[in-house]
């Protein structure tokens, strides 16, 4: 009892409180004196245009990424459920991006979407669509980055749904069939409601991972500046830049606390409004 308690207090919770304390200081790892500044770091946040942009970008990633990942993941899982041959091969193929190192995947993505040599643009030209700038365009870089994250997470999402689908007793479908229910009726009335726990889990964990988005952005967008004109900058990347690039640890901690609060509130709201008790 004592050891797990100590573990959680020291390893899990202590850093959070340290960050909270640091955020009240003008903490710079290069300085000998770390003056107490109270809420100054927080008032600076309000005026910081880059932080505002990082917040908007992070919200956009979440709004694009989470639904895309869940809808596409569900479609793929349902289709995979219908395939009888080579099922394992297909599952492995979908799961492969998830276990591919992000750095390697980002490299491939950069080549795919290269304005000059990329196969994606070659395809667009073949369709008589003018070539696009993708990652080098301030208006397209974010969507291209989000596409990479969705593509990478899809494998895990599909596995979740396959497990959720397998847990629905087949007798429900048989009963529905006897009652004369159509395919779409049994999807909306049986599959979707019974997948609710899986969907809630996916929404909550997906949202958290998009709110903390960092590695893909760093590796996809040339240098650590968050893409052309900061168009792909996320809150997590901004924390990293402030803390480790510019040594403003106190300010970075204030951003961390804000991000923590945002994630906490959103997660609680999601759990409150998405969870349905389903009884049959």
């Amino acid at each position: 009892m004592a050891i797990p308690l100590i573990f959680f207090l020291v390893v899990r919770f202590l850093p959070t409180f340290v960050a909270l304390r640091l955020s009240l200081y003008d903490w710079n790892i290069l300085k000998e004196v770390q003056p107490y500044v109270g809420g100054k770091n927080y008032s600076r946040l309000i005026q910081d245009g880059i932080f505002g942009k990082a917040l908007v970008n992070t919200a956009l990633y979440t709004i694009i990424g989470v639904p895309a990942q869940i809808v596409i993941g569900l479609i793929v899982a349902l289709l995979l459920g219908k395939i009888r041959a080579l099922q394992g091969v297909f599952r492995a193929l979908y799961f492969a991006p998830y276990v591919t190192p992000i750095v390697a995947a980002a490299w491939v993505w950069q080549w795919l979407f290269s304005p000059q040599f990329g196969p994606v643009n070659t395809f667009l030209i073949w369709l008589h669509i003018p070539p696009q700038s993708f990652l080098t365009s301030p208006s397209q870089a974010l969507a291209t980055t989000a596409a990479l994250v969705v593509w990478q997470n899809l494998g895990f999402q599909v596995v979740l749904f396959l497990a959720g689908l397998a847990a629905i007793p087949s007798t429900f479908y048989e009963a529905a069939e006897i009652d004369g229910a159509s395919g779409s009726q049994s999807f909306w009335k049986i599959t979707l409601p019974l997948l609710n726990p899986t969907i809630v889990f996916s929404v909550v964990t997906g949202t958290i991972s998009y709110l903390q988005l960092f590695t893909q952005v760093v590796n996809l967008n040339f240098t650590d500046q968050g893409g052309p004109l900061g168009s792909t900058m996320t809150v997590a990347l901004y924390i990293y830049q402030m803390a480790f690039g510019r040594f403003q640890t106190g300010y970075a901690s204030a951003i961390t606390v804000v991000l923590f609060a945002i994630i906490l509130v959103i997660t609680l709201l999601q759990l409150r409004f998405l969870t349905k008790r389903v009884n049959y």
């Binding site: 304005p115 643009n121 040339f222 500046q225």
Partner: protein, 419 residues
């Protein structure tokens, strides 16, 4: 009484002989760059042979993590005795009391002023030197001789006008689907240095006030410089940024033989030498008009300093090692093995070096190379790169972009100097 005296005398004797022979170990840190790590290992062997009572231990860290590793270790009383730092980080490190000023007995300030390339003065703070370089770097044009020949160009450009004309003959493809670039434009490569330290001056302006505390490029010259640079892409369509994926996009593309010219530093010589499978050359940075006297360059360097951790015997050993690292012999060794040019005026003035086809253009620009005083290198870079990108990617007016860069950078400078 006698016994006491005797023991005191003996104690003093043994202490004296002991401190002389006691072996000292000092630690040297630099970031992980293959040719530099090898060179330092060889130099340490030489140094230890001459100073048998001193052992030097080299430790390396990846570039991305280097500065934060250094910054977090020394205040904790750990880390290196002698440390390698980018000159642009110095104000922050000196301000933090992280480095000891170099003892003027061993490194007389006046001599340092006169012996070193002029740009090294940016390492002098409050009238004291805190660190010194072994080698320095300047910028020049790397050009692909094969592409030049194919386009019927006989010599590398001397003026910016010629650069535009030459690059225009080399470029192939329609934007953005270029297959070959005339000029490898890359704002976050070395280009923003060119714009700030070279073009602004050549157009008759000054980038900063003398003390480096005030931005002065928000001027007619600044606008002209920004217009000229961004025209390379928007008007003359010589290339696009990030032509190749990755952080060294324009250098990688040049090495792949896909770019006619790039502006890069002397530190890139070895990378290009080992990678490029074609005939290439180096030419000095262009000037505005053929008879222009306004020549400029951007100089940068890595310095070696002594941290506050080095005390007593370690300090004495660190001073010896630093003297060795900045000696003429080491500077020559560095040139041959790393490819960076000597920081000493005398060595750089060596006629053989000035005539060298590769090193020559870099060396000859040393007398007129300026270094920017950075107080927040990453933040100041972002101000410029973002300003350039608003013109290239969003069609912003160059005058507005310069104004925005000036406002952002001035704010960083003000925040730093008000403390």
């Amino acid at each position: 009484m006698n016994k006491l005296l005797l023991s005191l005398a003996l104690g003093g004797l043994s202490a004296a002989s002991f401190s002389h022979a006691a072996p000292v170990t000092i630690t040297y840190w630099q970031y992980d760059y293959a040719s530099k790590v090898t060179a330092i290992n060889e130099l340490i062997k030489k140094f230890e042979a001459a100073n048998p009572d001193i052992t030097v231990k080299q430790e390396n860290f990846p570039y991305d993590a280097y500065s934060q590793k250094v910054a977090s270790s020394v205040p904790a009383g750990q880390g290196p005795d002698v440390v390698n730092l980018y000159y642009g980080w110095l104000p922050q490190y000196v301000d933090a009391g992280y480095l000891q000023p170099l003892p003027t007995k061993e490194f007389p300030t006046v001599l340092t002023d006169s012996n070193y390339a002029p740009m090294v003065k940016t390492a002098k703070m409050n009238g004291k030197y805190y660190a010194l370089p072994t080698a320095v770097r300047t910028l020049a044009i790397f050009y692909n001789k094969d592409l030049f020949k194919a386009a019927g160009i006989k010599a590398p450009p001397k003026t910016w006008e010629e650069l535009i004309a030459d690059a225009g003959k080399i470029v192939q493809g329609t934007p953005p689907r270029y297959t070959t670039l005339g000029f490898g434009i890359q704002p976050d490569g070395q280009d923003y240095h060119v714009l700030r330290e070279v073009l602004v001056r050549q157009f008759g302006g000054q980038p900063y006030s003398k003390d480096g505390k005030t931005v002065t490029y928000n001027s007619d010259a600044g606008t002209k410089a920004m217009t000229f640079y961004t025209d390379l892409m928007t008007k003359y369509k010589l290339g696009v940024p990030n032509f190749f994926p990755g952080n060294n996009s324009y250098r990688d593309a040049f090495i792949a033989g896909k770019v006619g010219m790039i502006i890069d530093g002397s530190f890139a010589i070895n990378t290009i030498k080992s990678g490029a499978k074609f005939d290439w050359g180096v030419a000095p940075l262009p000037v505005l008009t053929a008879n222009s006297k306004e020549k400029d360059n951007f100089g940068s360097y890595w310095v070696n300093g002594i941290t506050k951790n080095a005390k007593g015997d370690k300090l004495a050993a660190s001073i010896k090692f630093l003297k060795f690292l900045t000696s003429a012999d080491t500077q020559r060794y560095w040139l041959q093995n790393v490819g960076e040019i000597p920081a000493s005026r005398k060595l750089a003035a060596d006629p053989a070096l000035r005539k060298d086809p590769v090193f020559g253009p870099f060396v000859s620009s040393l007398p007129y190379a300026s270094s920017t005083i950075f107080v927040d290198e990453a933040g100041q870079r972002k101000a410029w790169v973002d300003a350039i990108n608003t013109v290239l990617l969003q069609g912003n007016a160059p005058a507005n972009a310069v104004k925005a860069a000036a406002a952002n950078e001035q704010k960083i400078l003000d925040d730093y100097y008000k403390k």
